[in-house]
């Protein structure tokens, strides 16, 4: 994607990719039940020796106690304070310890996001800790986590309707909400806060499925970058990976900057680029 270079994304992207590859090779060895020490190694791989503090003053992570549907587990990250000029969250990394590719996504938050609350959907393969690690503007990391039980014996983190997923790949939808459901801020400037959701049709294929005839793994094919702007200004840039569910969806906030359009560019691992723009609806007419 030309022009996609927000907020140091490239460095982290290499990290996401290498983790995905490394873990894929170890798939067979990964236990279904969470190993206590998974995080110790993961933390080192993803964040090196940076200290990570308790994040309960910054964000709340909401996830179902069980991955009812292993392929689509809704995750809400609720920011407990608005983004302020001298105190804000720069990035949020979503990690599912026991998944074959534990880093589900890295969200790079633009200045106009207003509130760092995000909702998305992930695959959860096994009993696992799910973590959100927020990086503050001063570089300090803060973490919150939840434990999610695996689904039962007959749910799998697989695409429900592969033909449909391929046939409509790249189709996008922007939902615009009239009143933010999760707005907790009371400051006057926040009264303008808007909420929207970008959805894209994509199989987000994990590449971890073996072709039974050839014994080769089917190549991964997933959404690697999502960039949402109002006018030219980046609201949100997301590095995705295979733990995001099929038909990736991200719900987010933004403070209107006067632009008339939301512009979205999405890129996948086969270098397909999907773009679409929508007129920003007035605050009263949202869906």
């Amino acid at each position: 994607m030309s022009g996609f270079n927000p907020l140091n994304a490239k460095i982290t992207r290499r990290r996401v990719a290498s983790l995905a590859l490394g873990a894929g090779a170890l798939l067979a060895a990964r236990p279904v039940f969470a190993a206590e020490d998974s995080w110790t190694d993961l933390k080192e791989e993803i964040f090196g020796d940076q200290p990570i503090l308790d994040g309960t003053d910054w964000v709340r992570l909401e996830a179902p106690y069980r991955a009812h549907d292993a392929a689509v587990v809704p995750i809400d990250i609720a920011a407990l304070r608005p983004q302020e000029k001298d105190r804000f969250i720069k990035t949020i990394t979503l990690v599912i310890d026991e998944n074959p590719a534990p880093v589900a996504a890295v969200f790079h938050l633009g200045k106009s996001i207003g509130l760092a609350s995000l909702s998305t959907r992930v695959r959860v393969n096994a009993y696992s800790h799910v973590r959100a690690i927020a990086e503050a503007n001063d570089g300090q990391l803060y973490m919150v986590s939840r434990f999610v039980k695996a689904s039962g014996g007959c749910s799998a983190p697989a695409t429900k309707d592969p033909d449909e997923a391929l046939a409509s790949m790249g189709k996008m939808k922007l939902r615009q909400f009239s009143a933010p459901a999760s707005a907790t801020a009371t400051k006057p400037a926040m009264s303008e806060l808007r909420e929207a959701q970008i959805m894209i049709r994509h199989p987000n294929h994990s590449g971890l499925q073996m072709d039974q005839l050839t014994r080769y793994f089917v190549p991964a094919h997933y959404v690697s970058d999502i960039e949402v702007r109002q006018g030219d200004e980046v609201i949100l840039a997301v590095e995705g990976a295979i733990s995001l569910s099929e038909d990736p969806s991200i719900r987010f906030h933004y403070l209107p900057n006067g632009s008339s359009q939301i512009n979205v560019v999405i890129e996948d691992t086969e270098d397909q680029v999907f773009t679409k723009s929508w007129d920003i609806e007035s605050a009263q007419s949202g869906s």
Partner: protein
């Protein structure tokens, strides 16, 4: 040499004795020559050896077809023992109505019969996408005595849209459907007795489970309703139900779930919120509601949000 032969014979008789030790499944003859083993209304666990689905067999004049093989090697072996109590005809077909482990994990128990394994045109793809995960997950849920020997065996013969199997004086009509309960649902109509084996396109008592498309499922139910059957064998529930009246409770639930979801989507609720709300009014009408309603609402939300 003689000693070696004796040892070989001894081993052979021991393995035969081992096979004979498998207690035959209890089956009910729902129509002449059509037998069903009722699954318990529970999640797969050690106490049930994976035997949670209705599975069974149809005996023709020349051969036998198994319709779903059960939730583990042991579950399949028990079904096979029940067949052998009743007939020595060859087991020529093992039909899998869809990819879920409680319906396909007994396949390996029939390998000794060298049957054709039969499934929907997309069953192999579904097995490829899910098989490894199912094996890993269910190995932990089951005792080795039940799970050992369990394999994912893809179809050797697929149904594109419709196929007919002849068991000798008895035809089975197999229909492959669009994505509904799953992306590879197959139904079997035993023409002779008017018995429709729905696989998991029909649930009763046990809450229906959406693992495909909610809207697709409602459409398929309308098509099934027109089939000339006297009774249905649902994938979960009683072994035999009057047709097409049996569709009513499931249709009511899925319709209510879809209506609730559409309302919550229009209100701008999140998936996590909506999945805890939709369908709740149906709670007292079903077993295993807590286990599956949130899952259904989650899958349905992701589908209907695109409308």
């Amino acid at each position: 040499m003689i000693r070696l032969i004796l040892i070989a014979l001894l081993l052979l008789s021991q393995s035969a004795a081992h096979a004979a030790e498998v207690a035959p499944a209890e089956v009910i003859e729902v129509a002449p020559g059509a037998f069903v083993r009722q699954g318990v209304h529970a999640l797969i666990d050690k106490s049930n050896a994976g035997g949670i689905a209705n599975i069974g067999f149809v005996i023709g004049e020349e051969s036998i077809a198994v319709i779903d093989s059960g939730g583990s090697f042991l579950d399949g072996a028990r079904l096979r023992a029940a067949i052998r109590l009743r007939s020595d005809l060859p087991i020529r077909y093992v039909i899998n109505t869809h990819v879920h482990p409680d319906h396909i994990f007994g396949n390996a128990a029939f390998l000794q019969d060298a049957p054709s394994f039969i499934g929907h045109r997309d069953l192999a793809r579904a097995m490829q996408a899910r098989g490894a995960h199912y094996l890993e997950a269910n190995k932990l849920l089951l005792d080795p005595a039940a799970f050992d020997g369990t394999e994912v065996i893809p179809p050797s013969q697929v149904v594109e849209t419709q196929s007919v199997l002849d068991l000798g004086g008895r035809r089975l009509i197999l229909d492959a459907h669009q994505t509904a309960h799953t992306d590879a649902d197959l139904t079997v109509l035993d023409e002779t007795t008017g018995t429709l084996w729905t696989g998991d396109l029909l649930f009763q008592k046990h809450l229906p489970v959406v693992d495909g498309r909610l809207k697709g499922w409602l459409e398929v139910m309308d098509k099934l309703e027109a089939l000339p059957a006297a009774r249905a064998v649902p994938g979960h529930g009683p072994v035999s139900l009057p047709w097409p009246e049996a569709l009513a409770p499931q249709r009511a639930y899925l319709t209510k779930l879809a209506a609730d979801l559409r309302g919550l989507i229009a209100e701008g609720k999140t998936m996590r919120h909506a999945s805890g709300q939709a369908g709740q009014s149906e709670k007292d009408k079903w077993l295993l509601f807590e286990e599956f309603n949130t899952r259904n609402a989650t899958a349905g939300f992701a589908e209907l949000e695109w409308e």
